[in-house]
């Protein structure tokens, strides 16, 4: 009987592995269909566009994936993108480029620390805690900038958002590097196991000797830091610090993580799958654009995809 049990289990794993790759298959199908419908889609110009568009959001998604796998949730990333971008822009314009980049990033780190402390020490639900900091940080951005964009950034800074190395955009290099580092951290280090364990079963992790509060705080710190980096990159790309940027980034990032199949209850997920998730969203928008679908309809389409992906995931877990 145990042999039969093993065989059944083996088959289930095979099926699960296949169903676990649905997002990737969906992306491939999406690309194929887009390529068939429009010959512009696979042009080098468009591919490059898609990747650049993806890159900044993808940096945010890396952090979001960490937080969600760790059993948390971060709604404040969009506001952090704006705050980091604006602070970086001020310092870059008035003081020094490198200092601006560093401080802009550290602003994100600081918000991450605050989020982590609220969630662990005050035991506030992550959704509410980061909803609070989202509104709060957005308020700070508007206070600091008085609601006005910061222009006249030096060329050296702007080059980060527009220049390229070996024909490949800096932004894509940066994303690739961050992805490689965080993929390693999450899937190859003892720390990564701690994150998965904390998100998967906080009590079991605690009883296994893991300092769960510390792990949780660290995921928010990574997420805030990455949102800070994204904010700096966006400022460079837009050639300005803009207090209204980053709106809905949190929702797009969460949707991308969900599309990639990570569990919103924590403890499950793969970084590359979240990247697939964010690509699905960008490619979908891009191909609808190329096909001339009005932008209002694009939102409807993306909404449908998110709901469908979440429903498919529930179905997979139940079945």
């Amino acid at each position: 009987m145990s042999a039969a049990g093993t065989r059944v289990a083996g088959r289930q794993t095979g099926l699960q592995m296949l169903s676990g790759q649905i997002p990737l298959l969906a992306l491939v199908v999406l690309i194929a269909v887009s390529a068939l419908v429009s010959d512009r889609f696979l042009s080098l110009q468009n591919i490059s566009n898609v990747l650049i568009q993806t890159s900044i959001m993808a940096v945010v998604v890396i952090g979001m994936t960490l937080v969600i796998i760790g059993g948390g949730f971060d709604l404040s990333v969009g506001s952090v993108v704006a705050l980091s971008g604006c602070i970086a822009a001020y310092i870059v314009r008035d003081v020094d480029t490198t200092l601006g980049i560093v401080v802009g990033t550290l602003v994100g780190t600081a918000v991450g620390v605050v989020n982590g402390l609220i969630v662990t020490k005050l035991r506030v639900n992550p959704f509410i805690a980061t909803l609070g900091t989202m509104v709060l940080v957005r308020g700070v951005v508007l206070l600091v900038t008085d609601g006005r964009p910061i222009y006249d950034l030096p060329a050296g800074f702007i080059a980060i958002g527009g220049g390229n190395l070996f024909g490949i955009h800096y932004l894509i290099w940066i994303l690739a590097a961050l992805f490689a580092v965080f993929h390693w951290i999450l899937h190859r280090t003892p720390y990564g196991v701690r994150v998965f364990a904390t998100g998967g079963n906080r009590e079991a992790a605690f009883l296994s000797g893991i300092e769960v509060d510390r792990v949780t705080i660290s995921t928010y710190v990574w997420c805030g830091t990455l949102a800070g980096i994204a904010g700096v990159l966006l400022a460079a790309r837009l050639e300005s610090g803009n207090p209204t940027t980053g709106e809905f980034y949190e929702l797009t990032a969460i949707a991308a993580v969900v599309l990639g199949g990570a569990s919103l209850y924590g403890g499950e997920g793969k970084l590359y799958k979240s990247m697939v998730g964010v690509l699905i969203m960008v490619v979908l928008g891009n191909s609808l654009n190329i096909m001339g679908v009005p932008s209002y309809w694009q939102r409807v389409a993306i909404g449908v995809v998110i709901v469908a992906a979440a429903a498919a995931d529930r179905f997979r877990r139940r079945g």
Binding site: S2, G5, P190, V193, A204, S208, I210
Partner: protein
């Protein structure tokens, strides 16, 4: 051997229909209110029920007993409409019925009182009793409104019949567990329940509360209700049951009527073995004291004799009912609950304030709920690795070779199946999951193993295996402190026993002295 053959897995399902008349049912007026006839149920990989027949008569208490995993829960879930039988017939008052869901069973007058009470804390006792059919009236002839007077009166009447007089306006959330249970029974009566299924109703009750529940059960019996009673406490079964059906491995292995059974016969039927066989051959050559707890309180001055002592090669059992403080004591020793407990470990003072500190001191904890011991989504390997993470030489890279080697070794030693370290723990059977929890601590070679209800909710095979693992651990020089609410288990496998009540140790006995289950029960009861 002859006797064993008699009880060993002899399928008696075929006799099912005959029991009511066959065993000389002379009492008139007792009709079959609910019966299961040759019921089969298969769950992924296990035959939970293989041709089980039971008959519940009005005005009778029918005890359903068996080890964990014997099929009791599956049977009552089928009778309560939660599961559907693969084969076989459920009859209500003689008529075959197919329940599509629990609502159908309820409508047929079959009510299950589960272990976790489904009351609505914010509503009053009266509203909870009459939930689902709260009396209404029309204000000014039009507006529907709750008829509070009728609501109170009806609920009070139902509870009064149970000899449970309570302020029905109280919020149900303020009731004790035992009171909630009576509210649930009241609710069942308000729905004209004819069959009441009580799933381990006494597991969390104090002796006084048990007496009150038994009084209620007696009243229901007198009214002609058929009662199905599931309990692990065999003395209660002997005291209460008019009829007893013993399940093992999904089959009926024994049926008996009041007067025909005693605890010993039931144990033999349940386990297929004699009581003596269950006792562990114990090794009296204990080593030095490993763990000594001077006091469970916060008193600074230590009493002359320590409350708790565990030596090398010793298995110490903490006996206590739910809520007696055994779990909390284990968790405090492990640094998982505040306040930290002061004790000496191999002579050195210690007071771990977190599991991480306790683990560093050489403790391991097997928690009461399997779900607290494992991260189900992670692989067997990663779960074992959780206790080894601080042994990694480099922070930036998991020491795969060290972990994989240990995991492979332990999977062989504990016979964890399937032998696939990459398999998510959640897909393993309960017994194998329990082995993985053991593997976590064996991998770390802890010196003191704390186990909270280690065999709760697992089948007899896995239970024997856990006992063997505990025994092996002790035999290799380890110290074991475990808790259990099953007095028989505690007495069978420990070298000395502490009885706990309300957070205090109330009695202590060891093998050199007067050591038996009866004495332990007396210490826990009353």
């Amino acid at each position: 051997m002859v006797r064993r053959a008699k009880y060993n897995k002899k399928p008696m399902g075929a006799l099912g229909g005959a029991t009511a008349s066959g065993t000389g049912e002379a009492v008139t007026g007792r009709e079959s209110l609910l019966s299961a006839d040759q019921v089969y149920k298969h769950f992924a990989g296990t035959q939970a029920l293989a041709g089980v027949s039971v008959d519940c008569l009005g005005g009778e208490v029918h005890a359903l007993i068996g080890e964990n995993g014997a099929g009791k829960s599956t049977l009552i879930k089928i009778m309560g409409g939660v599961h559907r039988a693969d084969r076989g017939t459920i009859r209500v008052a003689g008529d075959p019925r197919a329940f599509a869901g629990p609502a159908d069973a309820l409508a047929a007058g079959i009510v299950t009182i589960p272990q976790e009470m489904r009351i609505v804390p914010a509503l009053s006792v009266a509203e909870n009793v009459l939930l689902g059919h709260i009396p209404m009236r029309r204000r000014a002839g039009v507006l529907p409104d709750v008829d509070r007077i009728a609501l109170r009166a009806r609920a009070a009447e139902i509870l009064h019949d149970l000899n449970f007089d309570i302020d029905v306006d109280r919020a149900a959330g303020t009731l004790t567990y035992a009171e909630r249970q009576l509210v649930m029974i009241g609710r069942a009566l308000s729905r004209r329940a004819r069959v009441l299924i009580l799933d381990e109703p006494t597991a969390a009750l104090e002796a006084r509360e048990v007496a009150r529940l038994f009084d209620v059960i007696g009243r229901l019996k007198a009214r002609g209700v058929a009662l199905v009673f599931i309990s692990h406490r065999l003395d209660e079964v002997v005291e209460l049951a008019d009829r007893c059906t013993v399940l093992r491995d999904g089959q009926v292995v024994d049926r008996c009527l009041r007067g025909e059974f005693d605890a010993e016969r039931l144990i033999r039927s349940m386990t297929g073995r004699d009581l003596e066989e269950l006792r562990r051959v114990h090794d009296a050559r204990f080593g030095a004291a490993v763990l000594e707890v001077p006091s469970l309180g916060h008193a600074q001055s230590a009493p002359a004799e320590s409350v708790l002592r565990v030596r090398e090669r010793e298995v110490v059992g903490l006996a206590g009912l739910l809520g007696s403080g055994t779990t909390q004591l284990l968790r405090r020793l492990f640094g998982a609950d505040a306040p930290a407990l002061r004790f000496t470990l191999r002579g050195a003072p210690a007071a771990p304030r977190s599991p991480a500190e306790a683990i560093a001191l050489g403790f391991g904890l097997v928690p009461g709920e399997r779900a607290h011991g494992l991260v189900m989504a992670l692989s067997v390997r990663d779960n074992v690795a959780l206790t080894l993470l601080d042994r990694n030489k480099r922070a930036w890279r998991l020491d795969g070779a060290m972990i994989d080697g240990l995991v492979a070794e332990l999977m062989d030693a504990l016979d964890i199946r399937p032998r696939d370290p990459a398999k998510p723990v959640g897909t393993l059977s309960g017994g194998n999951q329990q082995k993985v929890i053991f593997a976590k601590w064996l991998a770390r070679q802890v010196g003191v193993l704390l186990l909270d209800e280690p065999t709760h909710g697992i089948d007899i095979g896995a239970k024997t295996l856990i006992h063997r693992l505990m025994h092996d651990f002790a035999a290799k020089g380890g110290a074991i402190l475990f808790s259990s609410s099953e007095t028989l288990e505690v007495v069978s496998i420990s070298d000395s026993v502490l009885a706990m009540k309300k957070g205090e140790v109330v009695a202590r006995m060891d093998r050199t002295g007067d050591y038996n289950e009866k004495r332990l029960r007396e210490a826990l009861g009353g």
